[in-house]
Amino acid sequence: MNVTLTVNGETLSLDVPPSTTLLDLLRDRLSLHGTKEYCHSGVCGACTVLADGKAVSSCSMLAGQVEGADVLTIEGLTPDEGLHPIQQAFVDNFGLQCGYCTPGMILLAKALLDENPAPTREEIIRYMGGNICRCTGYAGILRSVEAAVKERGSWS
């Protein structure tokens, strides 16, 4: 079947089997490997992308469901040179170790800051609480998001 959607600013028309998930489409068809897979059941958040600005689990959506959607992956967030301020905050504040959950965490943080430019610590924890990291114990991630919040005024 045919799916037309925008991925990282580029509008694409793709022919895919109906059983293709958004995750499959991104990883296998578009080779956008920054979106990761672990639990494949909407729990862990490794496959988090933004669809029309909202954080979603790309493993739990069929390609047909994103017809016409505007999808942002970690590749689309990353500028041509350097890093997005949220990415830089994760680097500077040791918000990552193995890096596997990191793209999903960064995109979730992006969705949070787009919705709520000045979240409190409690709001950050409540919002980010769904994404799993096995390495950092989350302290570095919280520090990173808080640092990104502080810098929020300086980027659009």
Partner: protein, 287 residues
């Protein structure tokens, strides 16, 4: 994932038409957060997936007296909608406690209702709010109160070929307060050990309780309405009285032992969440 055909009908009529035609070969997809996992695990193996996501008439939240919830309205929209937060804080509070934000962005209210998972928060709160399910089929629409919609775990009165088109919630009386309390082991994103919704109306002059409704989730095969809550009506609903009602409500429940705890423990938690929900609802009704 096993292969299947896929269609995305544009209207309710088209959707129920194809569902009626394809019978058991077809599988309904709402937001997909549960359905796609079931497809991946092979729990369901349909020939055809009918994605309701393109049906414009099933979207949105409308307030005209009561609240008309399109089946496709996301759990997150219930959580964030200003009108819902003002007039139906119980629903917004329950919605905000469902799973994680990614799931809430995608999962639909209609899907949560139709799926019939006995521990989900939304059906508990909707049942407490007196919601009525609008069911669409080839022969038209029918309405069934949510209290009566569930037959068993993951089992509803929906007939083959029928879908949940929407949920209607009646207008709340003035001086009504609602609260939803979810209890989990570990992170609040986890499935609840138990949850409870309370909706209480008071007479502002006397402070006496004029209506009280309590529904418990993860308390049995379907959301369990605590009949004992009506015993609060006419009295002042003291802390002591609420404790008694909560204890009696927990005895009305029929929880099962599972990964989240043995039966006795779930009953204990039901007592606690009912007490907390009632206490909070009453406080909100009085302010």
């Amino acid at each position: 994932m096993r292969p299947f055909e896929y269609i995305r009908p544009a209207s309710v009529a088209e959707a129920v038409g194809v569902l009626n035609q394809r019978g058991e070969d077809a599988f309904v997809l709402g937001g997909g957060s549960a359905a796609v996992v079931m497809l991946r695990l092979g729990v369901v193996r349909p020939e055809l997936v009918v994605d309701l996501g393109g049906i414009e008439e099933m979207r949105g939240l409308q307030r005209n007296g009561g609240l008309r919830i399109g089946a496709l309205a996301s759990i997150r929209s219930l959580e964030l909608d200003d009108g819902v937060r003002a007039a139906y804080p119980l629903l917004a509070e329950a919605a905000s406690q469902v799973a994680n934000v990614r799931v809430r962005n995608v999962a639909t209210v209609g899907g949560a209702v139709a799926y019939g998972e006995p521990q989900t928060d939304t059906p508990t709160a909707l049942t407490a709010s007196g919601a009525v399910v609008r069911i669409a089929g080839v022969s038209g629409e029918r309405s069934v109160p949510l209290d009566g919609f569930y037959v068993g775990p993951y089992e509803t009165v929906l007939e083959q070929g029928e879908i949940v088109a929407g949920i209607d919630v009646p207008e709340q009386q003035p001086h009504t307060g609602g609260a939803h309390v979810k209890f989990t082991v570990g992170s609040p994103e986890n499935k609840p050990v138990a949850n409870a919704s309370a909706l209480v109306t008071v007479d502002p002059s006397s402070g006496a309780c004029t209506a009280a409704r309590v529904v418990m989730g993860a308390a049995g095969p379907v959301p369990v309405v605590a009949n004992v809550a009506s015993g609060l009506v006419g009295g002042e609903a003291s802390a002591e009285r609420i404790k008694e009602v909560a204890a009696a409500a927990a005895e009305e429940a029929d929880p099962i032992e599972d990964l989240r705890g043995p039966e006795w423990y779930k009953r204990r938690i039901l007592r606690i969440v009912v007490e907390r929900a009632l206490t909070c609802a009453l406080q909100r009704a009085r302010t």
